[in-house]
Every structure is written in structure tokens, then in C-alpha cells.
Amino acid sequence: MNANTRIEAGEVSAATATATAPSLTRREFIGSAAAAGSLVVGFSVPGTAAAQGSGGEINAWVVVQPDEKVIIRIARSEMGQGTLTGLAQLVAEELECDWARVTTEYPTPGQNLARNRVWGNFSTGGSRGIRESQDYVRKGGAAARMMLVAAAADGWKVPASECSAAAGVITHTPSGRRTTYGQVTAAAARMPVPTEVALKNPKDWKVTGKRLARLDTAEKTNGSIVYGADLKLPGLLNAAIKDCPVFGGKVKSFDAAAIASRPGVKKAVRVGDSAVAVVADTWWRAKTALDALPIEWDLGPNAGVQQAQIVATLKGGLDAEQAAVGNANGDAKAVIAKSARKVEAVYAYPFQNHATMEPMNATARWTAERCEVWTPTQNGEAALAATAAASGLPAAKCDVYKLPLGGGFGRRGAVHDWVTQSVLIAKEFPGTPVKLLWSREEDMQHGRYHPITQCKLVAGLDDKGEVTGLHMRISGQSIVAGIFPQNIRDGRDPVVFQGLNNGGGEAMIGYSFPHLLIDHAMRNPHVPPGFWRGVNLNQNAIYLECFVDEIAHATQQDPLALRRKLMANHPKHLAVLNAVAERAGWGKPAPDVGGQKVFRGLAQTHGFGSYVAACAEVSVNRAGELKIHRIVAATDCGHAVNPQQIEAQIEGSFVYGLGAMLFQECTVKDGAIAEKNFDTYPSLLMRHMPKVESIVMPSGGFWGGVGEPTIAVAAPAVMNAIFAATGKRIRELPIKQQSLRA
């Protein structure tokens, strides 16, 4: 992020001026900020008079300033996954600018609205940031290059076809004349917009595909980056909030007088039907006053719901008559019924919280004429929609300024409940910015949880031990039913079958069975589900990959050999699996570690458009203690924009996936989530972390995501290795309370 998109804590009066004073040009604005002696520069540069021409905007994606600085606009959100850097690389590649002069900025969703969505979709989820926008952002870079070259050619009165560009320098080849992007930027902005834009052949890439350092690292090592939780505005008030602990409950009453005289307290506010906020001068005062505030809840119809009931309801779905079919060929039920032998198992996956390190927060400033929100969000447009709805103003009178996210993982994308709350609170203080920050306890109890599911798998075997048919019955929660119920058709949620689809390119099963039935009995508890990094691929890969291992064991086959047999028609799935097996040394014993024998397990899947596999090496000592020593992981994401960032996502995926496998479970007690902080919802720590060897093997021809798919192979690879080590099959997650020794 460059200085133009950064907000420094403490002094943002100039920054806020841009939001309300669009007549300021970029230069004047920067000047005024500098004159005020502050490092602050504003949020909403695009959409101002400056950004629409005089400030060097070539097109929506590219700004070139006379001093040769190149600003690349990024519509998607950076939350640690490296998309900011990757998207900038794609634009810079086609722009032929000098990478060392590249900085980035976010356009606002309000500007996107005002400019007919020139930046397209802002949504940053489903590992789609790069793969969904790569084509049009590259074309944006290429079109800008063509306009810059055309401007130079125009000035020289030569055909543009005789000119070329590299590293921000334009050369007229026949005469050797040269100029720079900065020198022609004003003229370039007036050039006709090219109608036909050709993109480079990937083999000619110079910036894309390189292990470039992230653009946003230094500010994350010295405390200077400003997350939403750190934002300061003049006159800022702070709010703490409590929503009814039971989902579906409401506020009955609260005794505002009991806290009115506490220091710094401004007001206790009812927020919607179900929440109470306390607003004070500081957050700590608001939080402690809220803790002291007597609140009476109407706990509503779910107050008696317990975890065991939910588990029992899901269990009932495993054998239910009614189920939506996700993938089928042949007649699996009939074939299995008359098979010589059956293998059967039931698996279970719990509710889990995203637990972003930065709790939910938003700062809102409302007047009868305008509403502005500053927030970390994975989807600026959805945040704007939430802002408009809560403010009572049309979206054109609202805007959202995206701040760096202290983690996203899906929690800050589809649902913007905290934004709605922040606007409702700010309406009580017209003209005054109010920052709402959730406590960790609020975050744990009001998440959008990883869906809870169970799965029953039954395989039919013939007398030679060959698989004749597989029935995979998933029972449980549908995220789509909880968030986008309009997308449920005939009781079928297509996203439930992630990683199990027959074709489609997004999340495909890597096995062929002579007869196959994969179906889903939807069972939706009252706990709200959400898209949790990896989504449904997580549990589906566990169910299928562990069960394939069970078949291998039951038929005395090597797990790799069985997979190779079943994967013969799925060469890209098989290629990543073979890559990890080869590098890990599958088939040869792993060396002992500390006197303990080391065992291996495999897993593979396809999701978010990428093929992934992992081979885990673990030991389990006599006391049943698990040590995960090493994981080899492979990813074929088609095109690899920045291998270093892909590797970081692979490493991070093991932290997220292994923490989920080992420790993380949210349980329901009296209708509410029982786990309220990291003491009861532990995360993976340094001491648990295995070595990770990542193999990035882009095979070309498609664009796959990298932020999520590897999570899905983390748990099953380790669970299969645990079985190899102990002979004990883990089928319920998390592992935490189960003995690993029989």
C-alpha cells in the first residue's frame, strides 16, 4: 500500500476532507496533508476530480503521475493472502511499467457505483481474487500501455506501431527517440480507449510468475499499518456491543441509568432487536460499562437447544429417505446392496469460528445527508449495501473506505452484521464518527460458523476386493440456505458438494467409481453458518480421503496404489498426488525422529479451481501424543502469479487446517456458543507446526485459487498418517479429546 491509501493513527482530518470535498485535486489534497505536518493521506482518491483525469488516471486501473510513479488500483481486498501484490503484478506485466515505482490503492465501492462498476466485483472470497479478475485487470494494464504509447507516437508524429514500451520508457525504434510514461501521462489520458486489447503469452511474462516480495510488508513490522481497530478520527467515540447470546433472541430491557455516571460514558443504545451497545470516549470505558450494564434478554425459541440434539438430528439424516443428489453414476445403492463385502464408516465435522485475530469492527459517521463507514471488509460493495440499508440513505449518498484486514477467512465477506450495527449506533450521534469494536467474546459467540455435518460412506467390494460402488451421504448444514436461501433449488445446495462434483472445473472429484451416489440430507440447526476458509471442501476431503484409506486398509492395498487405480481418468489430480508421494519418499520407510517411528498419510483434492495434495509424516508416542513432523504439499493452480505468495498460502493453510483438526470446535449450550475465547477455542501454535515443503507445479491453461484448497488436505493427510502409526481411525473432529492409542 502506498502513502496515498494509508491512514496514520492520530491525525486524519485532512483525510476525511477528501471524502466530503471532491473538488480537491489529488495534488492539493496531498499538499494540504503534508502542510498539516501529518503523514496522512486520504482514502477516497479515485472519484475525485484529480483521479478522473488531471491526476494521471489513464484508465480505471492505472494512474501514472508525472514523477513516474505508477498507482495500480486494486478492487479486491488484501487480508494477508497476497492478492494485492499478485493483482498489481498482473497489471504491471501488461503495462510494461517499472515495478519498483508501483504502488497500489483501493477505489471505494461508492466510486464503483458512480462509475457503472468499472472495477467489477469487489468480493474477495472463494480464492477468486486473482482467478476471477485476471483477464480484465490485465486488459486494463495493456490498454493503459497502448494509450501511453499512442500519446508518445502522437507527439512524435510517428505510427504507434513503430514504438515499444519497457520499464516505463517508450522508444521509437526507427529513430531511437525515447520518452517516459510520466512525460506523456496527461496526453495519454486523452487518447482514444483501445477497443481491441491483446494480452501477452504467459511464456513472455517478466513480472508475473516471479517470486516478488509483497508490497505491504514493511508497515506490518513497525506498527505503522492502521487496521480498522486502530482508526482514529477527530472527535471519535467508541462503542462496545453485546448481542443476545442465543441466536434468535432479543433485548427485553436494559438499565441505562446504572452506568450513566461512569467515566466517559455517553449513552447506552439499543441496536436493532437483539443488541445493546455502550458508547464512550474510549473503548475500554465502553466495554467495562457494558459489562456493568444490567440487560434482560428475551432468549427466544432456541434457548433450550443443546449440542447433543443437533448431533442427533444430523445422525437422523444419514439414513433419511429424502436427499438431494450431487453426483451420481450407475446404480450405487443396488450394486452395494448385492456386493460381496461392504466397508462402512461415519465421520463428523463440527461448528468452527473463523477467529480472525482482529475482531469485527467498523467506524461509521452518519448525517441525514451522508453516511460513511471505515471497515476491514472482504467485499466493499456488500459493506456499502449494508451501510445504505442501515443508514436509510440511498447508496449514492454512502461510501465505504476499506482498511487492511486483520484476517478475513470468510467472516468479513458475505455478511456485514457489524457494519449494520455500527451505522445504527452512529445514527444516535449525527455527525460524530463512532467506532464499534467487538470483544473477542462477542466475536466467538456471534460468528458465522463453519457448517456442522456428518457423513456416512458405504463402499461395495467384489470378491477380489475391487470397489464396485460408493455411496457418500452427507447430512447437515447448508451455508447457502443460511446466507443466500434464494439459491437453494428443490432443496439442493450445490456448494455442499464442493470437491465431489463430476466436472465443472471448480471442485471436482478425482476418482472414478463404477457406481457412485453422493447425496445430501439438509439439516439446518439454528446456529448461523458461514463461508469459512476452505468452505465445504474441508470436510468433504476429510470424509472421502480418509474413507479411501479405509478401503485400502480393508482390501490390504497400499493407499497410493489404490488411489492410482481409481484416479486413472483424472491425470491432474494424480499428478499432484504423485508429486508429493515422490518427494516424501512414499514406499520407503521414513527415518525415525527422536527414537519414534514416523508414518505417512496421503490426501488429494480439487477445489477453488486448483489441484492439491499432501503427504504428512507423524509419530505417536506411547502416551498417545501426536507429533506432526513434516508435510509435503503440491499445488497445480494452472498459472502461478507469485510462487512465493502461493507457498505462504500453502504454509498458512496447514496452520488453519491443522488447528481445526486438532483443537477447534464450537458447541451449543442452551442455544448459545459455549466457547468464548482462545482458552476454550485454541489455535495451532508454533510448537505444533510441522515443516512444510511446498511444490508449486502450474501446468498452465487455467487459473486456480490458492488461499483455500490446501486446507482441505491438511487434516486427512495427518489423519491417515495417524492411522498408519496407530491402527486407530479418527472419524470425529476435532481430535483434542480423543486418545490416539486404542
Binding site: 513497525n222 492502521v226 475500554w284 487492511p404 486483520g406 508429486a579 512465493q644 504454509e651 501454535l685 511444490i695
Partner: protein, 166 residues
């Protein structure tokens, strides 16, 4: 008015006596590099040094800091990002979302002060901060690089293999 010595400066603040040091740093002294993550000393995002020792500032009342004790926050780790750990962090592209990294760096800096050549076991014991993005292997590698116990590549517990298709 109560005072604290933070990053070499004596600063006054106004807060109730039980206000945790974290919130005095963030809300009274505008030192927002120190983060709130859990409020119960579980995650380590709020780690600062008192007289060089790492503490979790979310559970320590500011009033419990003794006169004469010196507090160092991420903003004071070095004047210009030149601490060996900060340089290693940049060289190895350690942060992802970055929110936990102030605490990670402060915990690591205290470790190196105590044990200039830490072993893996030392790192496991000293770095108990939570990172949800998953930077642990790069944190470990960067600590080793900063300590000079490993070179950049040898310090990595991450092996990178890039295969290109024909």
C-alpha cells in the same frame, strides 16, 4: 496524572487505575501498533516489553507498572525498522495479514535478548503467540536468520520447489 516511560519518553495519561496497559497505550498514547486480540493473555498480540521482558499488556493494569520501569512497544523496537528481526521479517516476507506480527516481533526480540542463538525448542517455548494466517514457519526462519544461526535459505523450514510444465 499518572506517567509511563514508553519508548524512552515519559508520557502522562488519564485512565482508571484498573485500565490495562494495552488500552492506555492504544487509546491514551496513540501507540496502536500493539494489538487487542483476546483480552485474556492467550494470543500475545498485545506483547510489549517491560525492562526488556515480554509481557501481555491486555491483562496488566497500567497502574501496576512501577515508576522507573521502561516499556518498549513495537514502535520503539527500533527507530527506523532496522532491528535485525524487522530486517529478517522483510527479507523473508513473513507477515500475511500482519495483525499478530507486532506481538510476534516483540516476543522474538525478547527471546533473542535472552538467548542470542535460540534452538528450535527455545523458539517453540518463547513464541506462544497465535497467528491465524499461518506465518509460524517464516517467523521461525526469520528469528534464526536474525540470530545468525542460519543463513536465509538454511533457516527456512520451508522448501520451495517450483516445477514448470514443458
Amino acid at each position: 496524572m499518572p506517567q509511563l516511560n514508553v519508548n524512552g519518553k515519559t508520557l502522562t495519561y488519564e485512565a482508571e487505575a484498573d485500565t490495562p496497559l494495552l488500552w492506555v497505550l492504544r487509546e491514551q498514547l496513540s501507540l496502536t501498533g500493539t494489538k487487542y486480540g483476546c483480552g485474556v493473555a492467550q494470543c500475545g498480540a498485545c506483547t510489549v516489553h517491560i525492562d526488556g521482558a515480554p509481557i501481555r499488556s491486555c491483562v496488566l493494569p497500567a497502574a501496576a507498572v512501577q515508576p522507573g520501569q521502561k516499556i518498549t512497544t513495537i514502535e520503539g523496537l527500533s527507530p527506523d525498522g532496522s532491528h535485525a528481526l524487522q530486517k529478517a521479517w522483510v527479507a523473508l516476507d513473513v507477515p500475511q495479514c500482519g495483525y499478530c506480527q507486532s506481538g510476534m516481533l516483540m516476543a522474538a526480540a525478547a527471546l533473542l535478548k535472552d538467548k542470542p542463538k535460540p534452538t528450535d525448542a527455545d523458539i517453540d517455548a518463547a513464541i506462544t503467540n497465535i497467528c491465524r494466517c499461518g506465518t509460524y514457519n517464516r517467523v521461525r526462519a526469520a528469528i534464526k536468520v536474525a540470530a545468525g544461526v542460519e543463513t536465509r535459505n538454511a533457516g527456512l523450514d520451508i522448501v520451495h520447489v517450483v516445477r514448470r510444465s514443458a
